[in-house]
């Protein structure tokens, strides 16, 4: 996975200055949250549903190896070619091999975070194979040459004017900022691609071990076309996507659509069982399932952090995150932004490469509060901070400060002396606005002065 999270801090510093962008992110994310809150109410017991979903996910992850074996067996029996990929490179190679065998020159893709994770389009373009994103948001992001801004709504950072300009620029169409017109333009471009493409690539929201089915939820019908029109279909899924039974799906469909887009159910739910059977008129002749590890087994081995594998990529934690709302998705430098991305990215790449991310949270806990599978996101970030300190990734200055502080707090005598000393120092400072010039803090906010007397001193006076 390619990440540029080292630049998180410098990007964030710039990003927060763009007030109109901030307003746009805030508006878009709040809109999603409001929609989510409305449809959550019509579930008789939402908390129970969350709990059920969490237990199902936890059980699936605990018995992942077994479920994957079942999935492979049943999918193969259905006529699906199952491939295993340990790394992003291996996954890309599987796709390239299939494409070469078919002499494919054009591939249509439906939205898939895993394909973003392995930079699949990039790898295919390098092979000279045109790869077209067909989800409207992804189509926009691809035209702009960007990463998705959000897990479920990849282009929310763009205004309709931005999109109008982008289309005029890249597609040579007359400028318009009318959403209906813009959608029509995209549809015309994409319809032709759908008809010509030799291969369709999708991700998958779930894979069902018991039946060998791949499940895809979407709203635009582009995934349905991607699955059914081209002769070959390739679905790429992270290994954590497997769930035990078909009947478990109802729980996940109910929470995923509500949490992600505030819908009771998405417009399309496709279950792929295998290639076209004799006598059927629709569907691909060949179906491939690529199961990607790419670091997930290592995460599984970490008892504490394996919880991140429960994630169903609804994006709700991004929508409620006050940090995400002010810095936006690209700042994180990972295809998985926001709170869950801050927990996931350091595990996928390395803590060193993404060491700012676990700290990029005020620990307000809104992410955990909304997560439909109850991932304790902010507590996992705390755990990663601990790992960072153990691996000595924190800087020396910080370590010294914390140690000095701890020494003072452990010893009442020292605490008293430090209190007195700080007050002596403070007396020498200029009295301007009674602000204590605390580095970094005071640039944008006033810092209070130390009280003339501490509580413990005042307590003694009251007692006497």
């Amino acid at each position: 996975m390619r990440i540029t999270s080292k630049a998180f801090k410098s990007r964030a510093r710039e990003k927060v200055l763009d007030l109109s962008a901030r307003q746009r992110y805030r508006g878009a994310t709040q809109h999603s949250v409001e929609a989510r809150n409305r449809v959550v109410q019509d579930v008789l017991n939402w908390e129970e549903l969350r709990e059920t979903a969490r237990i199902l996910k936890a059980q699936s992850i605990e018995q992942l190896a077994d479920l994957l074996q079942q999935l492979e067996e049943h999918a193969s029996a259905n006529g699906i070619h199952v491939h295993w990929a340990e790394t992003d490179q291996e996954a890309c190679n599987h796709v390239i091999e299939i494409a070469r065998r078919q002499h494919a020159s054009l591939i249509v893709k439906s939205k898939s975070m895993v394909s973003e994770e392995i930079f699949l389009s990039h790898a295919l373009e390098k092979e000279g194979i045109e790869t077209v994103e067909t989800d409207l948001g992804e189509f926009i992001v691809q035209l702009a040459g960007e990463l998705p801004f959000h897990i479920t709504t990849p282009a929310i950072h763009k205004s309709r004017e931005d999109i109008g300009k982008l289309f005029a620029n890249k597609l040579g169409v007359p400028y318009t900022s009318e959403p209906t017109e813009l959608t029509k333009i995209a549809r015309e471009v994409l319809r032709e691609k759908f008809l010509k493409a030799q291969i369709g690539i999708s991700g998958g929201n779930f894979a069902i071990a018991e039946t060998g089915q791949i499940v895809i939820v979407e709203n635009e019908g582009n995934a349905r076309l991607t699955i059914t029109l081209p002769r070959i279909h390739i679905a790429i899924l992270g290994i954590e996507k497997v769930i035990p039974r078909l009947e478990d799906l109802s729980t996940f469909l109910a929470i995923l659509a509500r949490s992600a887009t505030g819908q009771r159910i998405t417009s399309y739910v496709s279950l792929i069982r295998g290639p076209k059977q004799q006598g059927e008129i629709d569907g691909p002749d060949e179906v491939h399932l690529i199961l990607l590890d790419n670091g997930r087994s290592d995460i599984l081995a970490d008892r504490k952090m394996r919880e991140v594998l429960y994630c169903i990529r609804c994006g709700a934690c991004l929508n409620v995150c006050p940090v995400y709302q002010v810095v936006g998705g690209h700042t994180y430098g990972s295809v998985y932004p926001g709170p869950i991305g801050s927990a996931f990215t350091p595990l996928m790449a390395s803590l060193e490469e993404a060491k700012d991310l676990p700290y990029a949270s005020s620990l307000c806990g809104r992410c955990a509060e909304i997560c439909p599978v109850k991932i304790d996101v902010h507590h996992l970030l705390l755990w990663l901070r601990r790992k960072a300190v153990e691996e000595r990734l924190s800087n020396l200055f910080e370590r010294l400060i914390v140690q000095l502080w701890c020494m003072i707090m452990k010893n009442l005598q020292l605490y008293r002396i430090a209190s007195k000393f700080a007050r002596v120092l403070q007396a020498f400072l200029p009295k301007r606005d009674s602000v204590l010039p605390v580095p970094i803090w005071s640039k944008s906010r006033d810092f209070p002065r130390l009280a003339p007397k501490t509580f413990r001193e005042l307590w003694r006076e009251v007692e006497d």
Partner: protein
């Protein structure tokens, strides 16, 4: 009933009046109040930055000092949640495990203690002003305390209580977060201050000195004439 006061370091150093207000309030309610004077910090700043070893030392110290208390009450949702929720992640030595189990049961944040334990929602305070309430993240989401502070505020005589939009959105303080990412933290604070302003309140009340220090930081810097008030201070004004 004997209450052991746990006064967070921030209150001890910057806002001792919050501690004094808590004390006054408890005395008025007829409680016996003690202040174990060896106390310093619960260890949260170290813990939140990932320094478990340092945090553990302070947690051990805290448990030794408070283990024989009847009730421990603190005017801070954040510090109470450190002890109740996070101490268990610190690999506390086995000989202190029992103390931890006990301390977790007897430690309360102020509003929670008044409403849930003492069953008091009207402390007899009077304050004529238009007031809004900011939910401190730890109090709301770690301790799940949402209504008690509101009930207490509503029962202050003469008060005009208004909910601000997005009262439960973080102010951007987050301890070391406010210094590690000052720009993000300040941007979050700007949004918070806008919400406070939209409520039309003259005072913003919260249950944690950290949030209040942060919010006041921008109110003062931007010369916005809204004042900050800790819940303890509000409940101790003009006690009847």
């Amino acid at each position: 009933m004997r209450v052991s006061l746990f006064i967070p370091c921030l209150v001890d150093q910057f806002y001792p009046q919050v501690g004094l207000s808590t004390l006054r309030l408890f005395r008025k309610l007829g409680l016996e109040v003690v202040y174990p004077s060896d106390q310093t910090c619960c260890g949260q700043p170290a813990f939140n930055s990932g320094y478990h070893e340092e945090a553990r030392k302070l947690a051990v110290r805290f448990l030794r000092i408070f283990s024989d208390a009847e009730y421990i009450v603190t005017p801070s949702g954040s510090c109470a949640s450190m002890v109740r929720v996070f101490y268990q992640d610190l690999s506390i030595p086995a000989d202190l495990q029992q103390s931890l189990d006990r301390v977790k049961e007897i430690i309360f944040e102020l509003a929670e203690f008044l409403v849930d334990i003492l069953k008091v929602t009207d402390v007899g305070a009077a304050f004529s002003a238009r007031v809004t309430y900011h939910d401190s993240c730890h109090l709301l989401r770690e301790l799940k305390v949402k209504d008690p502070p509101r009930a207490l505020i509503r029962n202050v005589k003469g008060i005009d209580f208004i909910e601000m939009p997005e009262s439960s959105t973080c102010c951007g303080f987050g301890g070391a977060f406010s210094i590690k990412f000052p720009e993000i933290s300040t941007a979050m604070l700007e949004e918070k201050v806008r919400s406070i302003q939209r409520s039309g309140a003259e005072y913003v009340v919260a249950s944690d000195a950290g949030c209040l220090m942060h919010i006041a930081g921008l109110l003062l810097r931007s010369r916005i004439p809204i004042k900050t008030l800790h819940l303890a201070e509000l409940l101790a004004v003009n006690l009847r």
